[in-house]
Subunit: 208 residues, 2 copies
Amino acid sequence: MSSPTTPRRGYHHGDLRAGLIREGIALLGETGVAGFSVAKVAVRAGVSSAAPYRHFPDREALLAACAAAILAEITDLLAAAAEQAGPDPLDRFAATAGAYTRYVLEHRAGIDLIYSYDFSGPHHPTIQEQSRHLTGTLMDLASAVLPADTSWADTADFVYVHLSTTHGYATLLMKVTRRPPEDIDSLAARAVTAARDHITGYLQRLLR
Amino acid sequence: MSSPTTPRRGYHHGDLRAGLIREGIALLGETGVAGFSVAKVAVRAGVSSAAPYRHFPDREALLAACAAAILAEITDLLAAAAEQAGPDPLDRFAATAGAYTRYVLEHRAGIDLIYSYDFSGPHHPTIQEQSRHLTGTLMDLASAVLPADTSWADTADFVYVHLSTTHGYATLLMKVTRRPPEDIDSLAARAVTAARDHITGYLQRLLR
DNA sequence: GTCTATAGGGAGATAGAC
DNA sequence: GTCTATCTCCCTATAGAC
Protein backbone atom coordinates (compact mmCIF):
# COMPACT_ATOMS: atom_id res chain seq x y z
CA MET A 1 0.00 0.00 0.00
CA SER A 2 2.83 2.43 0.83
CA SER A 3 5.57 3.30 -1.61
CA PRO A 4 8.88 1.59 -0.85
CA THR A 5 10.68 4.83 -0.06
CA THR A 6 8.35 6.10 2.66
CA PRO A 7 9.24 4.98 6.19
CA ARG A 8 5.53 5.28 7.06
CA ARG A 9 5.02 5.86 10.77
CA GLY A 10 1.23 5.29 11.00
CA TYR A 11 -0.13 7.10 7.97
CA HIS A 12 1.95 10.22 8.48
CA HIS A 13 3.36 11.47 5.25
CA GLY A 14 1.78 8.47 3.57
CA ASP A 15 -1.61 8.15 1.98
CA LEU A 16 -3.63 9.42 4.89
CA ARG A 17 -6.75 9.95 2.86
CA ALA A 18 -6.89 6.30 1.88
CA GLY A 19 -5.98 5.27 5.41
CA LEU A 20 -8.85 7.27 6.86
CA ILE A 21 -11.31 5.66 4.51
CA ARG A 22 -9.99 2.23 5.37
CA GLU A 23 -10.14 2.84 9.11
CA GLY A 24 -13.52 4.48 8.74
CA ILE A 25 -14.89 1.37 7.06
CA ALA A 26 -13.36 -0.81 9.76
CA LEU A 27 -14.91 1.34 12.49
CA LEU A 28 -18.28 1.23 10.76
CA GLY A 29 -17.98 -2.53 10.69
CA GLU A 30 -17.41 -2.67 14.41
CA THR A 31 -19.78 -0.06 15.77
CA GLY A 32 -22.15 0.84 12.96
CA VAL A 33 -22.97 4.39 12.01
CA ALA A 34 -24.00 5.17 15.58
CA GLY A 35 -20.48 4.64 16.90
CA PHE A 36 -18.76 6.46 14.06
CA SER A 37 -16.84 9.65 14.73
CA VAL A 38 -14.12 11.53 12.95
CA ALA A 39 -12.07 11.57 16.13
CA LYS A 40 -12.12 7.80 16.50
CA VAL A 41 -11.12 7.28 12.90
CA ALA A 42 -8.23 9.66 13.37
CA VAL A 43 -6.98 7.78 16.42
CA ARG A 44 -7.21 4.48 14.57
CA ALA A 45 -5.19 5.94 11.72
CA GLY A 46 -2.58 7.22 14.15
CA VAL A 47 -3.12 10.93 13.61
CA SER A 48 -4.60 13.76 15.62
CA SER A 49 -8.31 14.49 15.56
CA ALA A 50 -7.71 17.56 13.42
CA ALA A 51 -5.82 15.82 10.63
CA PRO A 52 -8.85 14.38 8.81
CA TYR A 53 -10.20 17.87 8.18
CA ARG A 54 -7.27 18.50 5.88
CA HIS A 55 -8.61 15.74 3.61
CA PHE A 56 -12.36 15.93 4.15
CA PRO A 57 -14.35 19.12 4.73
CA ASP A 58 -16.57 17.55 7.34
CA ARG A 59 -17.79 14.36 8.93
CA GLU A 60 -20.35 13.70 6.24
CA ALA A 61 -17.76 13.86 3.49
CA LEU A 62 -15.71 11.17 5.20
CA LEU A 63 -18.80 9.04 5.64
CA ALA A 64 -19.67 9.50 1.99
CA ALA A 65 -16.18 8.46 0.91
CA CYS A 66 -16.49 5.31 3.01
CA ALA A 67 -19.88 4.55 1.53
CA ALA A 68 -18.58 4.96 -2.00
CA ALA A 69 -15.65 2.66 -1.29
CA ILE A 70 -17.97 0.03 0.19
CA LEU A 71 -20.26 0.20 -2.81
CA ALA A 72 -17.33 -0.19 -5.18
CA GLU A 73 -16.03 -3.22 -3.33
CA ILE A 74 -19.44 -4.85 -3.26
CA THR A 75 -19.89 -4.29 -6.96
CA ASP A 76 -16.58 -5.99 -7.64
CA LEU A 77 -17.49 -8.91 -5.39
CA LEU A 78 -20.85 -9.42 -7.09
CA ALA A 79 -19.26 -9.37 -10.51
CA ALA A 80 -16.57 -11.81 -9.42
CA ALA A 81 -19.13 -14.15 -7.89
CA ALA A 82 -21.12 -14.17 -11.10
CA GLU A 83 -17.97 -14.93 -13.03
CA GLN A 84 -17.12 -17.86 -10.79
CA ALA A 85 -20.63 -19.27 -10.98
CA GLY A 86 -20.16 -20.61 -14.47
CA PRO A 87 -22.05 -20.16 -17.72
CA ASP A 88 -25.68 -20.62 -16.63
CA PRO A 89 -27.38 -17.19 -16.41
CA LEU A 90 -29.56 -18.23 -13.50
CA ASP A 91 -26.56 -19.48 -11.56
CA ARG A 92 -24.70 -16.29 -12.31
CA PHE A 93 -27.49 -13.99 -11.20
CA ALA A 94 -28.34 -15.95 -8.06
CA ALA A 95 -24.68 -16.07 -7.08
CA THR A 96 -24.77 -12.34 -6.39
CA ALA A 97 -27.05 -12.98 -3.43
CA GLY A 98 -24.45 -15.28 -1.92
CA ALA A 99 -21.65 -12.79 -2.42
CA TYR A 100 -23.70 -9.99 -0.91
CA THR A 101 -24.59 -12.08 2.13
CA ARG A 102 -20.99 -13.12 2.54
CA TYR A 103 -19.83 -9.53 2.44
CA VAL A 104 -22.35 -8.38 5.04
CA LEU A 105 -21.56 -11.25 7.39
CA GLU A 106 -17.82 -10.81 7.08
CA HIS A 107 -17.86 -7.05 7.45
CA ARG A 108 -20.64 -7.04 10.02
CA ALA A 109 -22.26 -3.64 9.96
CA GLY A 110 -20.48 -1.33 7.58
CA ILE A 111 -23.10 -1.68 4.99
CA ASP A 112 -25.83 -0.23 7.15
CA LEU A 113 -24.27 3.10 6.36
CA ILE A 114 -25.52 3.03 2.82
CA TYR A 115 -29.05 2.29 3.88
CA SER A 116 -29.28 4.24 7.09
CA TYR A 117 -27.77 7.48 5.87
CA ASP A 118 -29.22 9.83 3.35
CA PHE A 119 -26.77 10.27 0.51
CA SER A 120 -29.41 10.68 -2.14
CA GLY A 121 -28.88 14.42 -2.48
CA PRO A 122 -26.85 15.91 -5.32
CA HIS A 123 -23.92 16.49 -2.96
CA HIS A 124 -22.58 12.99 -3.35
CA PRO A 125 -21.98 12.31 -7.04
CA THR A 126 -19.43 9.59 -6.31
CA ILE A 127 -21.94 7.54 -4.37
CA GLN A 128 -24.57 7.92 -7.02
CA GLU A 129 -22.08 6.84 -9.63
CA GLN A 130 -21.07 3.77 -7.65
CA SER A 131 -24.71 3.02 -7.05
CA ARG A 132 -25.41 3.14 -10.76
CA HIS A 133 -22.43 0.91 -11.36
CA LEU A 134 -23.79 -1.68 -8.95
CA THR A 135 -27.24 -1.53 -10.45
CA GLY A 136 -25.83 -1.78 -13.95
CA THR A 137 -23.90 -4.91 -13.10
CA LEU A 138 -27.04 -6.56 -11.79
CA MET A 139 -29.09 -5.37 -14.74
CA ASP A 140 -26.72 -7.08 -17.15
CA LEU A 141 -26.92 -10.32 -15.21
CA ALA A 142 -30.70 -10.07 -14.93
CA SER A 143 -31.14 -9.50 -18.64
CA ALA A 144 -29.66 -12.90 -19.30
CA VAL A 145 -32.15 -14.55 -16.98
CA LEU A 146 -35.38 -12.84 -17.94
CA PRO A 147 -37.19 -13.36 -21.24
CA ALA A 148 -35.63 -11.50 -24.14
CA ASP A 149 -38.62 -9.20 -24.57
CA THR A 150 -38.56 -7.95 -20.98
CA SER A 151 -38.69 -4.18 -20.85
CA TRP A 152 -36.01 -2.10 -19.18
CA ALA A 153 -38.46 -1.02 -16.51
CA ASP A 154 -39.44 -4.58 -15.69
CA THR A 155 -35.82 -5.63 -15.52
CA ALA A 156 -35.06 -2.75 -13.20
CA ASP A 157 -38.01 -3.69 -11.02
CA PHE A 158 -36.81 -7.25 -10.85
CA VAL A 159 -33.28 -6.18 -9.95
CA TYR A 160 -34.63 -3.85 -7.33
CA VAL A 161 -36.58 -6.58 -5.61
CA HIS A 162 -33.64 -8.96 -5.87
CA LEU A 163 -31.21 -6.49 -4.35
CA SER A 164 -33.47 -5.27 -1.60
CA THR A 165 -34.61 -8.70 -0.49
CA THR A 166 -31.06 -9.99 -0.53
CA HIS A 167 -30.03 -7.01 1.51
CA GLY A 168 -32.83 -7.66 3.98
CA TYR A 169 -31.89 -11.28 4.36
CA ALA A 170 -28.21 -10.56 4.88
CA THR A 171 -28.69 -7.71 7.32
CA LEU A 172 -31.26 -9.46 9.45
CA LEU A 173 -28.98 -12.46 9.50
CA MET A 174 -26.15 -10.25 10.63
CA LYS A 175 -28.28 -9.04 13.52
CA VAL A 176 -29.33 -12.49 14.62
CA THR A 177 -25.94 -14.20 14.44
CA ARG A 178 -24.27 -12.56 17.38
CA ARG A 179 -20.75 -13.57 16.48
CA PRO A 180 -19.34 -14.17 13.02
CA PRO A 181 -20.39 -17.74 12.33
CA GLU A 182 -18.00 -20.29 10.91
CA ASP A 183 -20.57 -21.50 8.44
CA ILE A 184 -20.87 -18.36 6.39
CA ASP A 185 -20.83 -20.69 3.41
CA SER A 186 -24.11 -22.33 4.32
CA LEU A 187 -25.80 -19.01 5.05
CA ALA A 188 -24.62 -17.59 1.76
CA ALA A 189 -25.87 -20.72 0.07
CA ARG A 190 -29.28 -20.18 1.68
CA ALA A 191 -29.33 -16.68 0.23
CA VAL A 192 -28.59 -18.08 -3.20
CA THR A 193 -31.44 -20.54 -2.82
CA ALA A 194 -33.81 -17.76 -1.79
CA ALA A 195 -32.75 -15.76 -4.84
CA ARG A 196 -33.38 -18.77 -7.06
CA ASP A 197 -36.81 -19.22 -5.52
CA HIS A 198 -37.54 -15.61 -6.27
CA ILE A 199 -36.49 -15.98 -9.89
CA THR A 200 -38.40 -19.21 -10.30
CA GLY A 201 -41.57 -17.69 -8.91
CA TYR A 202 -41.13 -14.59 -11.02
CA LEU A 203 -40.71 -16.54 -14.26
CA GLN A 204 -43.57 -18.82 -13.32
CA ARG A 205 -45.85 -15.82 -12.89
CA LEU A 206 -44.95 -14.57 -16.36
CA LEU A 207 -46.14 -17.83 -17.88
CA ARG A 208 -49.69 -17.34 -16.71
CA MET B 1 -56.17 8.55 25.62
CA SER B 2 -56.38 10.60 28.83
CA SER B 3 -58.95 9.94 31.49
CA PRO B 4 -61.85 12.42 31.48
CA THR B 5 -61.02 13.82 34.90
CA THR B 6 -57.42 14.85 34.22
CA PRO B 7 -56.97 18.36 32.82
CA ARG B 8 -53.78 17.14 31.12
CA ARG B 9 -51.42 19.99 30.44
CA GLY B 10 -48.95 18.24 28.15
CA TYR B 11 -48.40 14.87 29.79
CA HIS B 12 -47.94 16.29 33.27
CA HIS B 13 -49.75 14.23 35.83
CA GLY B 14 -51.03 12.13 32.97
CA ASP B 15 -49.56 8.99 31.52
CA LEU B 16 -46.11 10.34 30.85
CA ARG B 17 -44.59 6.92 30.34
CA ALA B 18 -46.94 6.16 27.47
CA GLY B 19 -46.49 9.67 26.11
CA LEU B 20 -42.72 9.29 26.05
CA ILE B 21 -42.99 6.05 24.13
CA ARG B 22 -45.36 7.62 21.66
CA GLU B 23 -43.18 10.67 21.12
CA GLY B 24 -40.12 8.47 20.98
CA ILE B 25 -41.63 6.47 18.16
CA ALA B 26 -42.61 9.65 16.36
CA LEU B 27 -39.09 11.03 16.71
CA LEU B 28 -37.61 7.79 15.45
CA GLY B 29 -39.89 8.03 12.46
CA GLU B 30 -38.64 11.49 11.65
CA THR B 31 -34.93 11.28 12.35
CA GLY B 32 -34.08 7.60 12.72
CA VAL B 33 -32.04 6.22 15.57
CA ALA B 34 -29.23 8.66 14.79
CA GLY B 35 -31.36 11.68 15.70
CA PHE B 36 -32.90 10.12 18.76
CA SER B 37 -32.19 11.59 22.18
CA VAL B 38 -33.91 11.46 25.52
CA ALA B 39 -33.83 15.24 25.70
CA LYS B 40 -35.68 15.67 22.41
CA VAL B 41 -38.32 13.16 23.38
CA ALA B 42 -38.82 15.02 26.66
CA VAL B 43 -39.29 18.33 24.86
CA ARG B 44 -41.80 16.78 22.47
CA ALA B 45 -43.73 15.38 25.40
CA GLY B 46 -43.72 18.78 27.05
CA VAL B 47 -41.60 17.90 30.06
CA SER B 48 -38.08 18.69 31.20
CA SER B 49 -35.12 16.65 30.08
CA ALA B 50 -34.88 15.03 33.50
CA ALA B 51 -38.44 13.75 33.67
CA PRO B 52 -37.95 10.65 31.50
CA TYR B 53 -35.42 9.26 33.95
CA ARG B 54 -38.19 8.87 36.49
CA HIS B 55 -39.81 6.33 34.11
CA PHE B 56 -36.82 4.79 32.34
CA PRO B 57 -33.44 4.10 33.91
CA ASP B 58 -31.51 5.18 30.84
CA ARG B 59 -31.66 6.00 27.18
CA GLU B 60 -31.48 2.38 26.10
CA ALA B 61 -34.49 1.42 28.19
CA LEU B 62 -36.59 4.06 26.47
CA LEU B 63 -35.41 2.89 23.09
CA ALA B 64 -36.23 -0.68 24.04
CA ALA B 65 -39.73 0.31 25.10
CA CYS B 66 -40.27 2.04 21.77
CA ALA B 67 -39.00 -1.00 19.90
CA ALA B 68 -41.34 -3.30 21.80
CA ALA B 69 -44.31 -1.05 21.07
CA ILE B 70 -43.43 -0.94 17.38
CA LEU B 71 -43.13 -4.71 17.22
CA ALA B 72 -46.49 -5.14 18.90
CA GLU B 73 -48.19 -2.77 16.50
CA ILE B 74 -46.65 -4.47 13.48
CA THR B 75 -47.74 -7.87 14.72
CA ASP B 76 -51.31 -6.62 15.02
CA LEU B 77 -51.18 -5.10 11.55
CA LEU B 78 -49.88 -8.29 9.97
CA ALA B 79 -52.57 -10.36 11.66
CA ALA B 80 -55.25 -7.91 10.58
CA ALA B 81 -53.99 -7.91 7.00
CA ALA B 82 -54.10 -11.69 6.88
CA GLU B 83 -57.63 -11.61 8.24
CA GLN B 84 -58.75 -9.16 5.58
CA ALA B 85 -57.11 -11.14 2.79
CA GLY B 86 -59.78 -13.81 2.78
CA PRO B 87 -59.72 -17.58 3.13
CA ASP B 88 -56.91 -18.58 0.76
CA PRO B 89 -53.77 -19.42 2.79
CA LEU B 90 -51.43 -18.08 0.15
CA ASP B 91 -53.32 -14.80 -0.01
CA ARG B 92 -53.25 -14.54 3.74
CA PHE B 93 -49.55 -15.17 4.08
CA ALA B 94 -48.52 -12.90 1.21
CA ALA B 95 -50.72 -10.12 2.58
CA THR B 96 -48.35 -9.70 5.49
CA ALA B 97 -45.71 -8.41 3.11
CA GLY B 98 -48.05 -5.67 2.00
CA ALA B 99 -48.93 -4.67 5.54
CA TYR B 100 -45.29 -4.59 6.54
CA THR B 101 -44.36 -2.44 3.56
CA ARG B 102 -47.27 -0.12 4.25
CA TYR B 103 -46.21 0.30 7.86
CA VAL B 104 -42.62 1.11 6.97
CA LEU B 105 -43.62 3.62 4.31
CA GLU B 106 -46.17 5.32 6.51
CA HIS B 107 -43.95 5.50 9.56
CA ARG B 108 -40.78 6.19 7.60
CA ALA B 109 -37.81 5.18 9.69
CA GLY B 110 -38.96 4.06 13.11
CA ILE B 111 -38.53 0.48 12.26
CA ASP B 112 -34.83 0.79 11.61
CA LEU B 113 -34.46 0.82 15.36
CA ILE B 114 -35.26 -2.84 15.62
CA TYR B 115 -32.68 -3.79 13.05
CA SER B 116 -29.98 -1.25 13.71
CA TYR B 117 -29.85 -1.61 17.46
CA ASP B 118 -28.71 -4.61 19.38
CA PHE B 119 -31.49 -5.71 21.68
CA SER B 120 -30.68 -9.38 21.47
CA GLY B 121 -29.20 -9.52 24.96
CA PRO B 122 -31.14 -10.90 27.90
CA HIS B 123 -31.78 -7.39 29.17
CA HIS B 124 -34.80 -6.87 26.98
CA PRO B 125 -37.30 -9.63 27.67
CA THR B 126 -40.22 -7.54 26.41
CA ILE B 127 -38.66 -7.17 22.99
CA GLN B 128 -37.87 -10.84 22.75
CA GLU B 129 -41.41 -11.67 23.74
CA GLN B 130 -42.87 -9.34 21.12
CA SER B 131 -40.46 -10.74 18.60
CA ARG B 132 -41.62 -14.27 19.35
CA HIS B 133 -45.19 -13.10 19.06
CA LEU B 134 -44.52 -11.70 15.60
CA THR B 135 -42.72 -14.83 14.49
CA GLY B 136 -45.47 -17.03 15.88
CA THR B 137 -48.11 -15.15 13.92
CA LEU B 138 -46.17 -15.67 10.71
CA MET B 139 -45.46 -19.32 11.54
CA ASP B 140 -49.17 -20.02 11.83
CA LEU B 141 -49.86 -18.37 8.49
CA ALA B 142 -46.94 -20.17 6.86
CA SER B 143 -48.04 -23.56 8.11
CA ALA B 144 -51.22 -23.20 6.10
CA VAL B 145 -49.26 -22.52 2.93
CA LEU B 146 -46.52 -25.11 3.14
CA PRO B 147 -47.06 -28.85 2.71
CA ALA B 148 -48.52 -30.54 5.76
CA ASP B 149 -45.37 -32.57 6.43
CA THR B 150 -43.08 -29.55 6.56
CA SER B 151 -40.89 -29.62 9.65
CA TRP B 152 -40.92 -26.86 12.22
CA ALA B 153 -37.35 -25.95 11.29
CA ASP B 154 -38.18 -25.66 7.61
CA THR B 155 -41.22 -23.55 8.38
CA ALA B 156 -39.14 -21.27 10.57
CA ASP B 157 -36.54 -20.98 7.81
CA PHE B 158 -39.21 -20.07 5.32
CA VAL B 159 -40.71 -17.47 7.63
CA TYR B 160 -37.29 -16.04 8.30
CA VAL B 161 -36.58 -15.55 4.63
CA HIS B 162 -40.04 -14.12 4.05
CA LEU B 163 -39.73 -11.62 6.88
CA SER B 164 -36.19 -10.54 6.14
CA THR B 165 -36.71 -10.11 2.42
CA THR B 166 -39.92 -8.20 2.99
CA HIS B 167 -38.10 -6.01 5.45
CA GLY B 168 -35.33 -5.40 2.96
CA TYR B 169 -37.76 -4.46 0.24
CA ALA B 170 -39.72 -2.08 2.43
CA THR B 171 -36.72 -0.36 3.97
CA LEU B 172 -34.84 0.11 0.74
CA LEU B 173 -38.04 1.47 -0.75
CA MET B 174 -38.30 3.89 2.14
CA LYS B 175 -34.81 5.14 1.40
CA VAL B 176 -35.42 5.61 -2.29
CA THR B 177 -38.78 7.34 -2.08
CA ARG B 178 -37.68 10.64 -0.66
CA ARG B 179 -41.14 11.78 0.34
CA PRO B 180 -44.11 9.67 1.39
CA PRO B 181 -45.59 8.65 -1.91
CA GLU B 182 -49.29 8.81 -2.60
CA ASP B 183 -49.27 5.39 -4.17
CA ILE B 184 -48.36 3.39 -1.11
CA ASP B 185 -51.02 0.97 -2.29
CA SER B 186 -49.16 0.03 -5.44
CA LEU B 187 -45.86 -0.35 -3.63
CA ALA B 188 -47.45 -2.55 -1.00
CA ALA B 189 -49.03 -4.55 -3.80
CA ARG B 190 -45.59 -5.04 -5.35
CA ALA B 191 -44.36 -6.40 -2.03
CA VAL B 192 -47.24 -8.86 -1.98
CA THR B 193 -46.35 -9.97 -5.49
CA ALA B 194 -42.72 -10.46 -4.51
CA ALA B 195 -43.82 -12.54 -1.54
CA ARG B 196 -46.02 -14.64 -3.79
CA ASP B 197 -43.13 -15.16 -6.17
CA HIS B 198 -41.03 -16.32 -3.28
CA ILE B 199 -43.65 -18.80 -2.15
CA THR B 200 -44.21 -20.05 -5.67
CA GLY B 201 -40.54 -20.61 -6.22
CA TYR B 202 -40.17 -22.28 -2.86
CA LEU B 203 -43.01 -24.72 -3.47
CA GLN B 204 -41.76 -25.39 -6.98
CA ARG B 205 -38.37 -26.33 -5.61
CA LEU B 206 -39.95 -28.82 -3.22
CA LEU B 207 -41.53 -30.63 -6.14
CA ARG B 208 -38.20 -31.54 -7.66
C1' DG C 1 0.16 18.32 6.31
C1' DT C 2 0.17 17.47 10.76
C1' DC C 3 0.43 19.04 15.40
C1' DT C 4 -1.57 21.16 20.01
C1' DA C 5 -5.10 23.66 21.98
C1' DT C 6 -9.51 25.13 22.34
C1' DA C 7 -14.08 26.97 21.39
C1' DG C 8 -18.76 25.48 21.19
C1' DG C 9 -22.52 22.40 21.51
C1' DG C 10 -25.32 18.41 22.54
C1' DA C 11 -26.63 14.76 25.20
C1' DG C 12 -26.67 11.34 29.33
C1' DA C 13 -27.39 11.33 33.81
C1' DT C 14 -27.66 13.09 38.79
C1' DA C 15 -28.81 16.30 42.93
C1' DG C 16 -31.85 18.66 45.39
C1' DA C 17 -35.93 21.94 45.62
C1' DC C 18 -40.93 21.82 45.36
C1' DG D 1 -43.24 13.19 39.68
C1' DT D 2 -41.63 16.99 37.81
C1' DC D 3 -38.69 21.00 37.88
C1' DT D 4 -34.17 23.68 37.62
C1' DA D 5 -29.44 23.44 37.66
C1' DT D 6 -25.36 21.27 36.84
C1' DC D 7 -21.58 17.97 36.00
C1' DT D 8 -19.22 15.29 32.73
C1' DC D 9 -18.12 13.44 28.61
C1' DC D 10 -17.59 13.28 23.72
C1' DC D 11 -17.77 15.12 19.37
C1' DT D 12 -17.33 18.64 15.43
C1' DA D 13 -14.72 22.06 13.73
C1' DT D 14 -11.36 25.92 13.80
C1' DA D 15 -6.95 28.67 14.93
C1' DG D 16 -2.38 29.03 14.87
C1' DA D 17 2.37 26.95 15.62
C1' DC D 18 5.73 24.06 13.22
